[in-house]
Amino acid sequence: MSKNTNGKAKTGLSRRNVLKGTAAVAGLAAGSTIGGFPTIWAQEDITVRTVGMAVSNMPQLEAMANEALPFNVKQTAAQIPDIMARGINQSASADLFEPPMMLLRAMWPTGKFQAWDTTKLPEWDQVVDLYKAPGKIWPDAWYGDGQNPSQVGYTSGPEARDFVDPGSTKWITHHPVLHNADTLGIRPDIIGRPIDSWKELINPEFAGRSALVAFPQIGLMDAAMAFQANGEIEYGDKGNMTREEIDFSIDRLIDLKKSGHWRVLWSTFNESVQLMVSGEVVIQSMWSPAVTAVREQGVSCTYQDLKEGYRSWTLGHMLPRHLEGKKLGAVYDYVTWYHSGTAGAFFARQGYYVVTWQNTKKYLPAAEWDFWMEGKPATVDIYSPFGKLMEKVGAVRDGGSYKNRMGRIAVWNSVMDENEYLTDRWNEFMAS
């Protein structure tokens, strides 16, 4: 299997070069059997257009894909609401949509998408069990509150709009792409003592120096982690709260706001970085690469491992309904390449995990694998895929190993049943 994949990537690369060099020669054809679609890549120009978030749609990855594949790949980065709006209203404007999994319940039932056939995805076996019947990567991992990815992964047929039990069919609603876990970011130099629980987010010690993310669904879950850790409430399901639980949480958020606890609610990656760098905020919910960005400016910042676990997210590739024939084959090939290892290594060096992490191993030097995946101290200097020095020899990755992060998911980014009520109440929090 592994040799096979390796060879595939290589032949893809040479094919591409041939194509580039002799684009003008008529009748040039190259065969491809990737993805179970024996496709002839003839002279006609096939371009796979993807729309997703900036974390996974960027010039470097686009260039890698264009190098490796015999057709063109065009990636477009967009904001979450725009990905969703385009997917639902103009699904023909792209060939692959990459929304966060939390939007699946709003996007899949619209019928604007078609299911993937897992039997035509050669790398599907390598996709971690999180997206299959077990709903977790390791048997002893946590399942997590909220919408576990496996619950919205399967559907009953190629044109169905429903969700069925994970693993019960060969049809999947989305092909999972990446995942990671978020936690609190802290300024250890200013706080000066160990932080090990989400409850510190609401500790009066940090009044006026704490921040939350301003997106209602996610901000409320972070707050819920803190309230539960503080022993104030035991949620039935933090990722799908009842109205009473939402009321309790929002009322507490308003109390804290009135006492001047929240310095700010941030809404962009850069804001969260600047808040930490300037020292305006010393503890806040944060994304892993934002912590890295703070450190790159020479400011000490920790992506803090907490005993209650992580809040996790995942992205998935959705196939718009209009795709057919060669284009559909090309998209299957693209996704197969995506999960065959090189792209995974690229993402691993940014601190993300592709869902076929075992394939990544072949493309990461052992020392880097040990640092990123096993949580071992670095034996070489660690560079980002963009060439920036990230960690020196001896450093240990925050949050430790892959298993320590993704094996301890307390809650999944989710859209709750009471989504509309939550937004209304969140607006009250903003207005209070």
């Binding site: 301003a214 209602p216 310095r263 809404s267 305006e280 509309e420 607006n427 207005a431």
Partner: protein
């Protein structure tokens, strides 16, 4: 041929206004109709149910106390912004028109007022942060000269910061129309008043101010539209801690709750139209255009 000319003459006005009519229909009336339709569709918490009609989105607006809170907050910020931008805009326009003699100096200084608009709105907003932050220039000065022991937290991520940015950016929108109407005031009028013994205050109150009414009206309409629709400045400079109508709507849109957001938009549009309509009744804007 003659018949064609006759037809053309008869409908010439229609021909002349048709580009504007078509543009407005396509890009203003059309989208508003779409938003009205959207606001009447059902939202089930996850999806917009196309073609399932309901008044629920509007019902919710009129039965929640949040609506009152949001409109009061929007109104309060609008009023403060209007008063301050008027005082500043009027003073600046007066200075440019009446105190300066050379036309070139006038135009040069007027153009200088436009300099902040050479950068994007987000940068203009974000640029306040190094000034107003806890470790910012103002706080360093305040603590440095002993005015306060603690850095002033209200400067940033507060209503104050938002208002400051509104005033900085919207003053020009108030000043420009005022400059325009003031420049058209016949200087002989002022001479005559002075000859008849009017004091400067009397000239200002009885001559200049009344003649500036159309400019005030247009400036006010600009500021109303800008404040009512802003959510970016709120997001960045209040740190999402001030709730206005537009900010609430932005949250609904972020959570892809389009029908409730569309209803909020329609009611806000109606409120703004009422305000603008009221102003148009009070002042004959066209007279001075």
């Amino acid at each position: 041929m003659a018949g064609l000319t006759a037809i053309f003459n008869r409908y010439s006005t229609l021909f002349q206004i048709s580009p504007l009519v078509i543009t407005l229909t396509l890009f203003l009336v059309g989208p508003v109709i779409v938003i009205i339709i959207l606001s009447l569709w059902k939202f089930d918490g996850f999806m917009t149910l196309e073609g399932v009609w309901t008044f629920r989105n509007y019902e919710k607006i009129f039965t929640r106390s949040l609506t009152v809170t949001n409109y009061l907050q929007t109104g309060k910020m609008l009023l403060i912004t209007l008063v301050v931008t008027f005082v500043l805009g009027f003073t600046l326009a007066y200075f440019l028109v009446f105190d300066l003699v050379k036309l070139r100096t006038k135009m040069l200084l007027f153009l200088l007022c436009v300099v902040p608009f050479w950068t994007s709105a987000v940068i203009r907003t974000v640029a306040w942060m190094p000034f107003l932050g806890t470790e910012g220039i103002i706080n360093q000065a305040v603590v440095g000269i002993g005015l306060s022991d603690e850095p002033l937290k209200f400067l940033l991520f507060s209503e104050f910061a938002v208002l400051l940015s509104y005033i900085q950016i919207f003053t020009l929108f108030m000043m420009a129309p005022l400059f325009n109407v003031m420049a058209r005031i016949n200087k002989d009028l002022i001479e005559a008043a002075r000859d008849n013994g009017a004091s400067s205050i009397q000239i200002l109150w009885n001559i200049i101010l009344p003649l500036c009414k159309p400019g005030i009206a247009i400036g006010t309409i600009f500021v109303i539209a800008l404040v009512a629709s802003d959510f970016t400045t709120i997001r960045i400079l209040s740190g999402s801690q001030v709730g206005t109508v537009a900010a609430s709507m932005a949250n609904q849109i972020y959570n892809v709750q389009y029908p409730p957001a569309a209803a909020t938009a329609m009611i806000l549009l109606l409120a703004v139209l009422l305000l603008v309509g009221g102003i148009m009744r009070l002042v004959d804007v066209r007279r001075q255009l």
